[in-house]
């Protein structure tokens, strides 16, 4: 197993994982999307709402706000031993909001939610929720808890999580006369003519569309587009709830935990 050409930019990461099976790559992808827990508002108690939106509508919008998550100090409610329906400090974070439009219309933003624990706050303070006309009022309490993406997409830590096979392009220079027609047709512009010879510029960008082969004027095309089933290009973006590196690490840890758990259950079975 080897990890190379890693590129990290704020909330996005891209790397090549070599020497693994497609099953492993897919398990990583699926765990990142559906099983790495994050915080999201799950219960909203509305005390006063004279805005134009229904209570349910507002609650849904609050649920979709990404919240910064601290996996060390919070645990999943089903793993918490408080046995309380409302939750405790270990499995729940609360917010309050009280806002009123006095003389003029205002926009309520995610930043107007006042967190009890400053560690759990909206990722972005400028997410609009509702407009209030003069005289309208909104007062509510919101409770966030950890959850998994498989239950509801609001608990999904990633906005993009994909992988693709690493492409391989070979050019038979005995047959190719470097006419440059394929260079024009490549939608990702990864081919170029250098010193009158056809070369591949950026192999990672290839989408395996084979337009270069389809548009080659030669009878038997000198270009061969293949891919390796052991190397994967991962492309992951976080929505900000968790740092991107934490999501990847957490996914690997969780797969390991599943295997250990099944292994220990097998021993008890005997």
């Amino acid at each position: 197993m080897e990890l190379s050409s890693i590129k990290q930019q704020d909330n996005a990461i891209r790397f090549i994982l070599s020497g693994v099976t497609p099953a492993f790559a897919n398990a990583m992808r699926r765990v990142m999307i559906a099983e790495v827990p994050t915080m999201a508002i799950d219960d909203v108690i509305i005390i006063e709402n004279t805005s134009v939106l229904f209570d349910e509508f507002l609650a849904h919008r609050f649920g979709l706000i990404p919240l910064t998550t601290d996996l060390d100090s919070y645990i999943l409610p089903e793993k918490c031993d408080c046995n309380s329906e409302l939750g405790c400090n270990r499995c729940r974070a609360s917010f309050t909001m009280e806002i009123e439009a006095k003389d003029d219309m205002i926009v309520v933003y995610s930043g107007d939610l006042k967190p009890d624990n400053p560690v759990v706050t909206p990722v972005n303070n400028k997410i609009p929720i509702v407009k209030l006309a003069a005289g309208q009022k909104l007062q509510l309490e919101a409770y966030a808890r950890l959850g998994r993406g498989q239950e509801h997409a609001k608990w999904q830590p990633v906005s993009v999580c994909t992988y693709k096979y690493l492409p391989k392009i070979s050019i038979d220079m005995k047959k190719c006369d470097s006419c440059g027609k394929c260079v024009k047709f490549c939608p990702k512009c990864i081919l170029e003519i250098k010193d009158k010879r056809l070369v591949v510029k950026d192999i990672e960008e290839c989408t395996l569309c084979t337009q270069c082969i389809k548009n080659c004027p030669k009878k038997s095309c000198p270009i061969k587009v293949e891919w390796s089933e052991k190397d994967f290009i991962f492309n992951i973006e976080s929505n900000g709830a968790l740092p991107i590196t934490k999501i990847v690490e957490q996914a690997a840890i969780q797969i390991g935990e599943k295997a250990s758990e099944l292994s220990s259950l097998m021993k008890n079975l005997e």
Binding site: P22, E249, G256, A259, L262
Partner: protein, 94 residues
């Protein structure tokens, strides 16, 4: 996670795993297939809305299904550990 044995003979093992779906079972199946003593392995999720999967293992004459399953689980653990150390090395922590 909860497990239940559905069938157990000398060369066969059928387990019901509650709380796991395609994510883990597909990885487990593909890891089991790599083992030389495996004759046949497959998994099924009987209904997409229930969190239950059934995994079936059949081994060749010389194998023990339980031991092979444990070997595969250990392999998965090793791979995730290897991935973690490679990843941490690449991002420059540790």
């Amino acid at each position: 996670m909860r497990i239940k044995t559905i069938k157990k003979t000398k060369d066969e093992l059928k387990l019901e795993i509650e709380g796991e779906g395609h994510t883990f079972c597909n990885l487990l199946q593909n890891t089991l297939v790599e083992d030389r003593s495996i004759k046949n392995v497959g998994y099924d999720t009987p209904h997409p809305l229930t969190e239950k999967s059934i995994i079936y293992i059949k081994v060749k004459k010389d194998g023990n299904p339980q031991k092979i399953l444990e070997r595969a689980l250990k392999k998965i653990n090793q791979r995730t550990d290897e991935f973690l150390s490679e990843f941490r090395k690449a991002i420059g922590t540790k």
